[in-house]
């Protein structure tokens, strides 16, 4: 049974599977491409939220702000944070900008909105959907889990958004390879 297997790199396979190159809009009104502008060649921290969320979004965002401060000037240089809207129809850039300001989010952290179908596709690709459709449909019940990863090195993992901020900061440095190996345990 001779078969020719595609010789696709793991990095490229991951890009095709998980990172559709969608056009999105930032909280600063800038148009960006998901893979090319937000993920490629970066260490990233990814989660989903919406501006008028009364549940887990605010505490997770506040916790991630602590993480951002602990990572200091690395954020925006080689570590980037992305929060994708779960309700892109209500979250226009202005609403997201207001949310970011309200949480005192620093530079290097982008809030993203766009076409609802695009963000829904992305949410599913990145595994942020609940397998129970009834639960999944209830946006107030959305996941507080946060992905982190190093795109060029295909190291990907996750943490509960409400775990301790200094533990999260250390965790993110696990994928910071090969630099800062002294901090990796």
């Amino acid at each position: 049974m001779p078969q020719r297997w595609a010789d696709t790199s793991p990095r490229e396979l991951i890009r095709r599977r998980y990172f559709p190159d969608l056009a999105l809009v930032t909280h600063e009104g800038k148009r960006v491409r998901l893979y090319e502008d937000l993920i490629k060649d970066k260490i990233v921290i990814l989660n989903f939220m919406y501006a008028h969320c009364r549940g887990v979004c605010s505490p997770v965002t506040a916790n991630l702000v602590r993480v951002q401060r602990l990572l200091a000037d690395r954020v925006g240089r080689d570590i980037f944070m992305c929060s994708f809207s779960l309700k892109p129809d209500e979250d226009n850039p202005a609403a997201l900008r207001e949310y970011a300001q309200r949480h005192a989010v620093g530079p290097g952290w982008t809030f993203l909105t766009g076409d609802a179908a695009d963000l829904e596709l992305l949410r599913r690709r990145l595994g942020f959907a609940d397998p129970d459709p009834a639960r999944d449909a209830d946006r107030s019940n959305h996941t507080g889990m946060v992905r982190y990863g190093n795109e060029p090195l295909h190291l990907w993992a996750a943490f509960p958004g409400m775990s301790r901020a200094d533990a999260i900061a250390k965790e993110i440095l696990w994928v910071d390879w090969p630099a800062r190996r002294d901090l990796q345990r």
Binding site: D130, N141, M145, A157, P160, R164
Partner: protein, 612 residues
């Protein structure tokens, strides 16, 4: 049945919604095929969200092969591999072992070996019996229909070599991390590692604690005392023979990355013999087994470890595929035993002892022995649960397993000379949440492996299982110092235990147990439609009570409890002999990596927190 139908309806609904979403996202059918979003049948390969690649469970098709996302593979074309037995060495590579961690010499261990100072008359240093193992990248063939697979394996093997050890003979395993840097991980896997010896009565610093990982280029000396629980407390100085362990396994336990590293191949068996369970069917319990004439470190014939695993392979590259963006649990559509997809095993018409392990990552099994004809539930003997011999064998026609569980069985092939039998997994499971609760009809499950029974074979000197008796269950009537409750919950898609999350640096214990005391732990599943195979390190437990009926085979010593929907179970523990930190976690390794875990310690004072 009701639940199943509901689930199927829901799956169809999800598939429909997925399709609508893709249509909305304006992907053409050609693009969808290209991205592997739909199979050639036109059905979505994802059942529950686009990131879930595995098709749930694969139906056995006409030729016995399997269908699903993975490329087609033939069944029963390769023989079952038997893992080599790990050989001791007279000298180790690198510096001589030390009790304190040899950081300057390249060791990743951070704490001193405690047994030599706590019990100097029992454990002498240096340790006479030494092993050296190297974790490294390798290429293995899982099916002749797939390209060679890049794996990480102990000694470059998947599964790794099998350790044989004997009670009363301590060993030291020097474990080298020779894994390549992440850029060469083939798409998943974290090359810093910590190796856990599952179910062993191991001092904390050698247990493979999730945060005790070493870096590539380092080594880690594990001291395995091979000692019976109670040796330093209730049953000094030898320990309680009724606490004897049999089938253990070792696997990577790197915090956040365990699922990837285990999927990548970092697993193997560790088998403990003693004066009763001897590996020789003419002595002791007379369990099936004939030692090799070359000595102890060679496979015992008729005593066969079987490591079950399910995997997915990328349809375009044919390479192992790990779903990185999945929080729920990962199911494969290909079933491997000892590293081969659906192997065959030539057996003699006599009794065999099988040590069956569910190595995950997320699947539960219900295994039947079938001839695919009129005998679809051939009875056999279950002799052990979680690798521990039961008080006596129990006649069963299937075994149910969650991830990390080891069930031992004796199958008598004598009535089947010249015939062909199969293991069929009939437990329906469509996603990582756990089985649906439905046992599929005979023939509708997955054939895991094939047994080709020869017409003649060697003499069988093993005892009739109906006459066997093993160990008595240790006393579980002692009053607990504290009874603690652990609620397994799911809040906003995050796993919590008693409302709190695991911090990835494992910095502080949630529970402090006082050394040499008894505790009762109540586990409650409040997480909705999820099941969790919960594993507690170091000390085994017995079930005191549970909210549903207790299976006969669960009246035993255990290290994994399959926590079922809305179930509550009360467990008896006696924490003895060593001190230090250990984890307690869900062994669906995807749940584990997403923080369904907590750290508990044994120390000299303990706490009395009833809901930690």
């Amino acid at each position: 049945m009701h639940i199943t139908r509901y689930r199927q309806k829901k799956s169809l609904e999800i598939a429909r919604r997925n399709r609508l979403e893709i249509v909305k996202a304006r992907l053409s059918r050609r693009e969808m095929l290209k991205y592997g979003l739909i199979g050639s049948s036109g059905f979505l390969v994802f059942k529950n969200g686009l990131s879930q690649w595995a098709s749930g469970y694969a139906h056995a098709s006409g030729g016995g092969g399997a269908t699903g996302t993975s490329p087609p593979t033939r069944a029963f074309v390769e023989a079952l591999p038997i893992m080599p037995i790990k050989q001791p060495v007279s000298t180790l590579s690198g510096p001589a072992p030390t009790i304190a961690p040899n950081t300057a010499g390249g060791e990743g261990r951070t704490r001193a070996h405690q047994a030599f100072t706590s019990y100097p008359s029992k454990f002498t240093f240096p340790v006479a019996t030494k092993f050296e193992v190297h974790q490294r990248a390798a290429s293995v063939v899982m099916s002749p229909d797939l390209p060679p697979q890049p794996v990480w394996g102990f000694d470059g093997r998947y599964p790794g070599p099998t350790y044989y050890a004997r009670y009363g003979q301590q060993i030291l395993v020097r474990n080298f991390d020779d894994l390549p840097p992440p850029a060469q991980n083939g798409g998943f896997g974290m090359p810093s590692t910590t190796t856990h010896l599952h179910n062993a009565h191991t001092p904390s610093e050698s247990d493979g604690f999730p945060c005790d990982f070493q870096q590539p280029g380092q080594f880690y000396d594990h001291h395995y005392p091979n000692v019976l629980a109670g040796f330093g407390s209730t049953h000094a100085p030898t320990g309680d023979v009724n606490e004897s362990l049999g089938t253990l396994w070792y696997h990577d336990h790197r915090v956040d990355f365990t699922a990837q590293n285990v999927y990548k191949g970092l697993t193997g068996f560790y088998i403990l013999y003693n004066d009763l369970d001897t590996g020789n069917e003419t002595t002791g319990f007379r369990l099936p087994g004939v030692p090799d004439p070359s000595g102890f470190y060679a496979p015992v014939k008729y005593d066969v470890p079987l490591m079950l695993a399910d995997r997915v392979f990328d349809p375009s590259t044919g390479q192992l595929f790990f779903d990185l963006f999945n929080f729920d649990g990962i199911l494969g559509d290909r079933f491997l035993v000892n590293g081969k997809i659906q192997p065959f095993f030539e057996v003699e018409p006599r009794r065999y002892r099988f040590r069956v392990l569910d190595s995950g990552p997320s699947r539960f099994y219900q295994l039947f022995l079938t001839d695919k004809g009129s005998n679809t539930q051939i009875p056999f003997w279950q002799i052990a649960n979680d690798g521990n011999l039961l008080p006596q064998p129990i006649r069963v026609n299937n075994i149910i397993m969650g991830v990390a569980q080891r069930m031992e069985i004796i199958v008598d092939f004598r009535p089947f000379a010249g015939k062909t039998l199969y293991f069929e997994n009939r437990l329906e499971q469509v996603d990582g949440r756990g089985p649906t609760g439905n046992t599929l009809p005979a023939g509708a499950g997955n054939l895991i492996m094939q047994f080709r029974v020869k017409s003649t074979g060697a003499a069988d000197n093993s005892a009739d299982p109906a006459t066997m008796h093993f160990y008595k269950l240790p006393d579980k009537t002692a009053a607990p110092r504290v009874t603690r409750t652990f609620r397994f919950e799911r809040t906003n898609g995050q796993w919590a235990i008693n409302g709190r999350f695991m911090d990835a640096d494992c910095a502080s214990p949630r529970v402090r147990v006082k050394q040499n005391t008894v505790e009762n732990w109540i586990l409650q599943n409040n997480s909705g439609g999820w099941m969790h195979p919960v594993h507690i390190h170091f000390e085994e437990h017995q079930i005191l009570s549970q909210s549903n009926a207790i299976d006969a085979v669960d009246v035993s010593r255990k290290d994994v409890h399959r926590l079922q929907h809305s179930q509550q179970v009360q467990l008896f523990f006696r924490f003895r002999d060593f001190q230090g930190r250990y984890p307690f976690h869900c062994h669906n390794v995807v749940h584990e990596d997403h923080a369904m875990m907590l750290r508990w310690d044994i120390d000299q004072t303990g706490d009395t927190n009833t809901t930690p």
